[in-house]
């Protein structure tokens, strides 16, 4: 019975999610319900849902593993992931909500009156979300492997992936909001409770001291769970031990550390599945408070993850981590191994949290991907005169199609490792949508040509650098410090060059759209739903 606790806990989360997802299908009657939960989500609920949407398997299981394997350099992930919400709050959240649209491609077209920019927005959303969802789907398979004894990766992925796809199909954003709120509180409980049992014996400083010493006595190097050597000699250099574990630059040099931070901070503020959630708040002021509470919620979460990683290193040493094919500490095993120290109940909590993490992020990504296809491509470009009923059917078909394709791609991509895909998703988001949104929201004289130039250059440079690293053309793998400034420069230079060629009508439109982003809620133009209601 006790051995099955993790499986039971995962099943409870899954069943609760399915019930809520299907129950909320009754509330997804209109397009607004389906894509933005009727714009009626309160601060607390949306903050919980955004946090849950963001805390993927990579965060829930992977950040502690990164600290375990890389020491201080892994702590940057815990802080950088949260830091992005500061820029999102200062420059994006409230104006984006106030614009009153459904998707990021909607913003692109609405801000610049440009069908071509909608296509750029669709492309960015598809590329970023596809890379991200493949990594998350691989996480689904590995979590299932960890909590269901003997479960093959592909079968676990197919079962759980299908379940997520189905409840998103019927519940839409309304269902996803409610399930994500539940999933967040499961995750935060799962990460905090075991620490109250594990920590009283030691302080944080003592844990770090022991962890640091522990790594010094290991000379044989890390092994896989089967006892084989995990790395070649060259690969071992990537994983610091002793002083280089506790000190900075054990894994990343100065340039790469700063570039990684830029990618995490700017990339977070450019992720379509996160940005879409701000449309669900009733107004811009509540979008701001939602972001503040997200910072508190995920801050509490990320403060604990380095403690988990250091504790694992202290108690179990380097050798206990199972490393994946890419030579990274296996995120599917690290948290489970640590939680076992407190007992099966703690491992069950981590299993519940792990299932919640993959469910929440994938559901948000499915909404982002399917909205780009069903709303932006079908509803706005291919068939703008379709009825709302047809658009909702298209939405449901798109969710199913995206779910199936993501499951199939994940089965093929697993052997390539997922870390580089998540890195590329963040780099592309940081280099395309982030500069486009910040400049578009705060610079009234930004032009369509400037937006296209910036997003294209940022996307191409970041992709070339990451793919070049993946194919061993060069060793540098953190492009953001180069690609993000380049994107901003391209936007500025091309907008300056093309502004004088804009007609008076175009200038007037751009100016009007700019002020629609900032006018206080009570004085802002009505959204499409408000106009329809009145």
């Amino acid at each position: 019975m006790m051995d099955n606790l993790p499986l039971i806990a995962g099943l409870v989360v899954l069943i609760a999610t399915i019930v809520i997802g299907l129950w909320s299908a009754r509330k997804s009657a209109t397009l607004s319900d389906y894509w933005v939960a009727g714009r009626s989500v309160g601060v607390f609920t949306n903050a919980s849902a955004i946090s849950s949407n963001y805390l993927s398997a990579a965060s829930f299981l992977g950040v502690a593993a990164a600290v375990w394997g890389s020491g201080f350099d892994g702590v940057w992930y815990a802080t950088g992931f949260a830091a992005g919400y500061i820029l999102l709050l200062f420059f994006i959240a409230s104006p984006l909500r106030r614009f009153g649209k459904y998707t990021i491609p909607d913003f692109c077209e609405g801000r610049f009156n440009s069908r071509r920019l909608r296509q750029v927005g669709i492309t960015c959303t598809m590329v970023i979300s596809t890379l991200y969802i493949i990594a998350q789907m691989v996480g689904v398979g590995t979590v299932m492997e960890a909590i269901v004894p003997g479960m093959p990766f592909e079968l676990g992925l197919a079962i759980l992936g299908t379940i997520i796809t189905l409840y998103v199909t019927f519940g839409g954003m309304t269902g996803v909001t409610l399930t994500q709120m539940l999933q967040f509180w499961i995750m935060i409980t799962a990460i905090l409770l075991p620490l109250f049992v594990l920590l009283p014996k030691y302080g944080y400083g003592e844990i770090l001291q022991h962890a640091y010493q522990q790594t010094e006595v290991r000379e044989e190097g890390p092994t896989t769970i089967t006892g084989d050597s995990a790395f070649t000699e060259t690969e071992q250099e990537r994983f610091p031990t002793g002083h280089s574990w506790i000190a900075p630059f054990g894994k990343y040099n100065l340039f790469s550390s700063i570039s990684l931070l830029v990618a995490l901070v700017c990339g977070t503020a450019g992720l379509p599945h996160i940005l879409a959630r701000f449309y669900t708040n009733p107004d811009g002021a509540k979008a701001r408070w939602s972001t503040v509470w997200v910072l508190v919620f995920i801050g509490i979460f990320y403060i604990t993850t380095p403690i988990w990683g250091a504790y694992g290193r202290m108690v179990l040493g380097v050798d206990a981590v199972m490393y994946d094919e890419a030579g990274e500490p296996g995120p599917n095993t690290a948290m489970f191994l640590i939680s076992e120290q407190a007992g099966q109940w703690a491992k069950a909590l981590i299993a519940a949290g792990g299932v919640a993490a993959v469910l929440s992020t994938i559901s948000g990504l499915l909404i982002a991907l399917s909205s780009a296809i069903a709303h932006d491509l079908y509803g706005e470009i291919l068939k703008p005169d379709a009825s709302d009923k047809s658009k909702i059917i298209a939405a449901k078909v798109a969710v199913i199609a995206c779910g199936v394709v993501a499951i199939l791609l994940s089965m093929g991509f697993r052997k390539w490792g997922i870390a580089w895909m998540v890195g590329l998703a963040f780099a592309v988001a940081a280099s395309t949508l982030f500069p486009l949104l910040v400049s578009g929201i705060w610079w009234s004289k930004m032009t369509e040509a400037g937006a296209i130039a910036g997003a294209s250059l940022g996307g191409i440079v970041s992709t070339v650098i990451v793919v070049g690293r993946f194919t061993d053309l060069w060793a540098f793998d953190q492009p953001a410090l180069i690609s993000v400034p380049l994107a901003f420069i391209a936007i500025f230079v091309v907008s300056k060059m093309t502004w004088k060629d804009q007609s008076e009508d175009t200038k007037s439109f751009l100016n009007k759209a700019f002020h629609a982003l900032h006018r206080p809620d009570a004085k802002a133009p009505k959204t499409e739903e408000e106009q329809a209601a009145s």
Partner: protein
């Protein structure tokens, strides 16, 4: 307060707080590089850089976020004309 004044004040505050955020955030890798041992000195038994990056940064984010949100929302309520 006019709409234009509100917009200018919001942008000024956003940029001011963002500069504080960026300077503190990106100065840490530089300090790590040029003053490594000083950054590893224990504070409350924890290496300073672990405490600063792993805990204090989050508290800084919360403070900056509350300052910005309270001020921005208050200014928007004070806008009198329609711009």
């Amino acid at each position: 307060m006019t709409y234009e004044e509100m917009l200018a004040k919001q942008l000024k505050l956003s940029v001011f707080l963002a500069v504080i955020f960026l300077v503190t955030m990106f100065s840490v890798p530089l300090l790590n590089y040029f003053a490594t041992e000083a950054m590893l000195q224990p504070v409350l038994g924890i290496p300073f850089v672990w405490l600063f990056v792993g805990v204090c940064f989050h508290v800084e984010f919360w403070i900056l976020a509350v300052i910005y949100t309270r001020a921005s929302n208050r200014w928007e309520e004070m806008v009198e004309d329609d711009g």
